[in-house]
Chain length 198, copies 2
Amino acid sequence: MAGKRRAEMMQETREKLIGAARKAFAEKGYAGASMDDLTAAVGLTRGALYHNFGDKRGLLAAVVNTIDGEMAECARRAALKAADPWEGLLAEGVAYIEMALDPEVQRIVLLDGPAVLGDPSQWPSQNACLAFTIEAVEGLIADGVMKPVDAEAAARLLNGAALNAALWIAASEAPEAVLAKAVEAFRCLAAGFLARPR
Amino acid sequence: MAGKRRAEMMQETREKLIGAARKAFAEKGYAGASMDDLTAAVGLTRGALYHNFGDKRGLLAAVVNTIDGEMAECARRAALKAADPWEGLLAEGVAYIEMALDPEVQRIVLLDGPAVLGDPSQWPSQNACLAFTIEAVEGLIADGVMKPVDAEAAARLLNGAALNAALWIAASEAPEAVLAKAVEAFRCLAAGFLARPR
DNA sequence: TCCTTTTACATACGTAGCGTATGCATATTG
DNA sequence: CAATATGCATACGCTACGTATGTAAAAGGA
């Protein structure tokens, strides 16, 4: 298939670089990942990198964007499977906790991402996860299920709690046991937003 | 005052380096801070640095340790001023949110710290803030004020929520307004842990 | 008091890795 | 079929980390 168009070729190299970066950043961390090694792993050089992404940060941003999208998709699926909207919100939080157990997510999105790119809410991806959570919260407030607090504030606190729990679990020696405790506490905590206790 | 003992001198250079590092890390970020510049700013060279702290990470760890201690002290004071233990826990969370508005705390402890040193709970300082919160939670559970959830899980979720709120506030354009929203939502959320609604 | 040893820090060096400037080959345009 | 633009490689300089080595002063012993 030598008959590929120029744009297709470029798209392909971008994907190759993002894939390699995902691995390298996850394994070595952002600072520890060498651009020379990373590009060579897919048969390219740093030339391709700087042409396509500007600099090292640009590549990280692209990787974060990709993973963030996958996470939002995963959270959405978890929420849709739930019995009602409130359970959906909880399922979303739990899904978030579970996703954050993935070393790739942890290292790239939760640790290096914020440190290198700044606050997640300022990312171009606008943190798809958060956006989805805000939507859910707004619906629940409108339906009177949740107390009328600021939707963004509620979403951020919930996501923040889940995120921190995930870091804790991942660093612990008995992830499964800790996960159970964290999920229980999370459900309990979230209930504080309920207009009427269940 | 040339009559200083050796140990005192060393303690002094350690403090000078930590002070300079605090400034440099806060202003330029961990990766962007040059050890040459940083040490020269207090009339030393990298020799002193590597002798006292091993490497760049070691210096960051020392700085984080210092700030973490100050934060715990601040949280403790806030909690003691409250009317009762439950309000104390809330005050602690709010204090945590407010402290995280300090750019120095944000950049060093919340962003670069976890990225470079790993999960905060594994730090030698053992995250003084968290330890104090856990203590408070255990007391509240014993007194039947809070539901009998896992104390560490509850403390981590609360701190996580507060931390994330702080990052949000700091990045926002109207910190004061956002702070109010966040604090309200935080109080509401925390109420989920109450055995009996108030 | 004088000699020895340790220690706290400075100086010098090697090296990795980022960003940029330049070159080249292929694809697109007229 | 020329002319231009583009995607990527090659080459270079510079910054900054970590280490190896040097040195002067303090601590300790006789």
